[in-house]
Symmetry: C2
Subunit: 417 residues, 2 copies
C-alpha cells in the first residue's frame, strides 16, 4: 500500500473512531489505560525484540552513542512507560467539563462544554516512549491519534503500538483510536501535513528542523512546540546568592532542554560584585562562556559573543552573558532575541518585578525562580504533551485540557430569530 | 514601495506597537475607541468622498448591484460603524483577567493570566465596515492589527483607517496599532500568509474561496471562519408546529449567512404529517426545494437532490430535504456532510435530545431552536470577529476573549530545580 492510500485509510478509520471516542465514558477510558500499562509490562519481551532490530540497524549505520541510548528499550524503560500511562489514568477527565453557562433574554440556555479535538496527528523523532505517552494522553482526552515516529524506531514503534492498541480495543476503545503510520517513506510526513480532511490538529515533537518543516508546510492547524531561547536578568537589587543559584540551575541542571537558560543578563550596577564568582562557577562546571566586552573583564575564560550567540538555542553547556544598563535595556534585549518560552528576573524591587512580568511576552515569566520549572509536571498538570511556543490555542506546558476544544450546547423551547 | 517592503515595515512597527499595547490601560483604550467613533462621525464627508471613487470605479467595471450596495458608505452607515465602536468601548476588557492560580508544593505561585495575542492580520473582502469593526475589536483586546481589505474598497478603507488611526493615536494608542496594507498588489496577500516574523495570527473574513486560499497557504496560525452546511433534524416526537417555525426560520430569515440551514432532515414516522405543509410554506416563500425520492412524494415542486446538494452551502433560497429512518441515520448524514458549524434537532424525546447534543460534532448544537442564533451578539458576547469552524483556539462565535492568549506569571523566592 502506498503512503497516500495508507494515510487516507487510517484517517478515515480515525475519524470514525473519534466520533465514538467523544462519547466514551471516563471509566472505559481509564480501564483501557490500565490495560495498556499491563500489556506493556507483560508484552515487554516482544517489544524488546523489535527494539533490538532498530538498535542493531542503528549501530550498523554508525548512529552516535547518545542517540542509540535514546532509542534503546529495556524492561526498566518499558515499566516506566507503563507507569506513565497509569498516571494518565489517574488524572481527571477533561471531556464534558462545563466551562460556563448562561440564559439569554429569549430563554435560550447556552452551555460551553469541553469536547475532544477529534483526530490528532503526532509527528516525532527517535524516542519510542513518545508513542505510548502521546497515545495515552490523546485517549484520555477522547481523541483518536495518528502517530508518525522516526524511521530509526519503526520496529519498536510498530511493536509498542500493536501492544497498546490491542489492549485498548479489548477494553472497549473503538478500533482506529490508536494508529501508527507504518510506511517509512519520508513523503508520508508531507502528506500528513495536508490531511485536513481527517486531521484536526498536528503536534510536532522533536528538534527545531522537524518543527520548522511542520510549521512551514502544514495546512492542518499546528501547535508549535519547542524552541526556547530563555533569559535570566539579574537586577541591581537582586539577592546575589539567590541569583547565582538560580542562574546556575537554569543553565547547568539540564542544558539540553527547551526551558534551560541560554543568555544571562546582568545589571551593570552589580556586575562587578556578581559576575566574577558566577563566571568562575560556570567555568568550573565546564560551561563555554561567550560575553559582551563588559562581561569579558570579569573572567578570562569568556570569549567574545557574536550576534548569532544572542539568538542561539545552544541546548548545551554554552552560555551568552551580557551586561545591560538597566531594566529597559534588559527588556529590549529579551524582546529582540526571546523565543517567548520562559524568562526570569531576579530582583528585590517590587516595581521592576511587576514591570518584567507585565511587559515580557513569553509563555512563562518568572520572578526569583529558575526557568527550568516550565514543565507540565512542575506546573502540577500531571502530564505534558509538549510546551507550546505559539499563542493560539495553547501556550506553555500543555496538559490534557490543551488536547480539547469546546462546543456550545444550546437548549430552547421553540426560539426563532 | 513594493509590497514586501511595505509588509516588513508595517510588521515591524506593529510588533513594536503590540508591546506597548499589551500594557495599555483599559481607560486609555476606551477613550481611544470613543475618539475613533467621534472621528468617524465628524470625518464622514472625507470617507464618503473616498468611497464615491470606489463606487464609481465599481460601476464602470460592471460590478453587480448587490455588491455595489455592500461597498457603499453613507452618513447613516458611518454612524452605524461609530455606534459599533462605542459598543466595543462598553465591553469588559479581557486583558489581565486571572483565569486560574495555584501554589506548588515548593512554594512557587503560578497564575494564568489573559494577555493579547500580539499582532493580528485580518484579510477581508469588499465591506469597508469590517475595517472599523476589526480595528476596534483588536484594539480593545490589546492587539495591533494589520488590515488587508479588498482592492475594490481601497479608497474607502484608506480613508477610514486614516480617520480612526489618527484619533486613536491622539488618544494615547501607540502608533502602528492600526495599519492598512495600502498596495492592491494581489501578491501582498500571499506574502502576508508567510509573515510569521511579525504576525501571531491571521483571521480571514470573507467567502469560501478567500478562506480556502488562506488556510491552504498560510504558515502563520489561522483561525478558520465561515462555511456552514447546517442541518435541522425533525424527530418523530417533534412538536410539528414548533418544528415548522424553526425549520422555516432557519432557512428563510436570512439565507445568505453561515448559520442558515442548508439541509432539512425529517424522521420517516412523521414525514407524511409534517412535510406537505412544510414544503408548501417553503414553496410559497420562493424556496427552491431539492429532495430525496421520499420527500418528492409530498410536494410536486421538489426536484431530485444530487449528491452535491447534500454537501452544498447554498447561501440562498435553496434547501435540500431528506427523509431518514431514525436518529442514527440523521446522525450519520450530519457526520458525513456537516461543516461542524451549527446543527439542530426538534424533539420531545429526552434521550434523543441528549444523544444529539453529545454525539453531533459542531460548534453549536441546538435542541428546539433555530440554528440562526449562532452569532456573537445573539450569544450575548456583545461583539463578534467571526465564527470559527475549526477546533483549535476558538470554536463558534468569537468575541473579545477569543482575541487573546494567556501567559503564566510565576512568583518564587529562590526556587531551583
Amino acid at each position: 500500500m502506498d503512503y497516500m492510500a495508507e494515510l487516507a485509510e487510517k484517517g478515515a478509520i480515525a475519524k470514525q473512531a473519534a466520533r465514538k471516542l467523544a462519547a466514551l465514558s471516563t471509566s472505559v477510558k481509564n480501564k483501557a489505560l490500565l490495560a495498556m500499562a499491563d500489556a506493556l509490562e507483560t508484552g515487554y519481551s516482544t517489544i524488546v525484540a523489535a527494539n533490538a532490530k532498530d538498535v542493531e540497524r542503528a549501530e550498523a549505520g554508525g548512529m552516535a552513542k547518545p542517540l542509540i541510548d535514546r532509542l534503546l528499550l529495556n524492561q526498566a524503560r518499558i515499566q516506566a512507560m507503563a507507569e506513565g500511562v497509569r498516571q494518565i489514568a489517574a488524572l481527571p477527565d477533561p471531556v464534558g467539563e462545563s466551562l460556563s453557562g448562561w440564559v439569554r433574554p429569549n430563554g435560550l440556555n447556552i452551555t460551553k462544554v469541553r469536547v475532544p479535538l477529534g483526530v490528532i496527528g503526532i509527528i516525532y523523532e527517535a524516542r519510542p516512549n513518545v508513542t505510548v505517552d502521546a497515545a495515552g494522553l490523546c485517549l484520555k482526552a477522547g481523541n483518536a491519534v495518528i502517530l508518525r515516529g522516526g524511521s530509526e524506531a519503526i520496529n519498536s514503534n510498530t511493536a509498542v503500538t500493536a501492544v497498546i492498541a490491542e489492549a485498548a480495543y479489548a477494553a472497549g476503545v473503538p478500533e482506529g483510536a490508536i494508529q501508527l503510520v507504518e510506511t517509512t517513506d519520508r513523503q508520508a510526513v508531507a502528506a500528513m501535513l495536508k490531511l485536513n480532511k481527517y486531521l484536526d490538529v498536528i503536534i510536532p515533537r522533536g528538534g527545531a528542523g522537524l518543527i520548522k518543516t511542520v510549521v512551514e508546510n502544514s495546512t492542518v492547524p499546528v501547535i508549535e512546540t519547542g524552541t526556547g531561547v530563555c533569559h535570566t536578568f539579574v537586577d541591581a537589587t537582586a539577592d546575589l546568592a539567590m541569583a547565582q543559584d538560580i542562574a546556575f540551575n537554569a543553565k547547568v541542571s539540564r542544558p539540553g532542554v527547551c526551558n534551560a537558560m541560554e543568555t544571562l543578563l546582568v545589571h551593570q550596577a552589580i556586575a562587578a560584585d556578581f559576575l566574577p564568582a558566577m563566571l568562575e562557577r560556570y567555568h568550573q562546571a565546564g560551561v563555554d562562556l561567550r560575553g559582551c566586552p563588559e562581561t569579558m573583564k570579569y573572567h578570562q575564560a569568556v570569549k567574545p559573543a557574536t550576534e548569532e550567540d544572542w539568538a542561539a538555542e545552544f541546548l548545551d553547556l554554552i552560555l551568552a552573558v551580557r551586561v545591560v544598563g538597566n531594566l529597559d535595556a534588559a527588556l529590549e534585549h529579551i524582546a529582540a532575541y526571546s523565543t517567548r518560552h520562559s524568562e526570569a528576573i531576579v530582583t528585590r524591587d517590587y516595581d521592576n518585578a511587576r514591570r518584567f512580568q507585565q511587559e515580557v511576552d513569553a509563555a512563562a515569566v518568572y520572578v526569583n525562580a529558575s526557568t527550568r520549572f516550565t514543565d507540565g509536571f512542575e506546573f502540577g498538570f500531571g502530564a505534558e504533551i509538549g510546551i507550546s511556543t505559539q499563542k493560539l490555542h495553547a501556550r506553555g506546558p500543555m496538559g490534557l485540557p490543551e488536547l480539547t476544544s469546546i462546543k456550545y450546547v444550546v437548549n430552547g423551547n421553540g426560539q426563532i430569530r
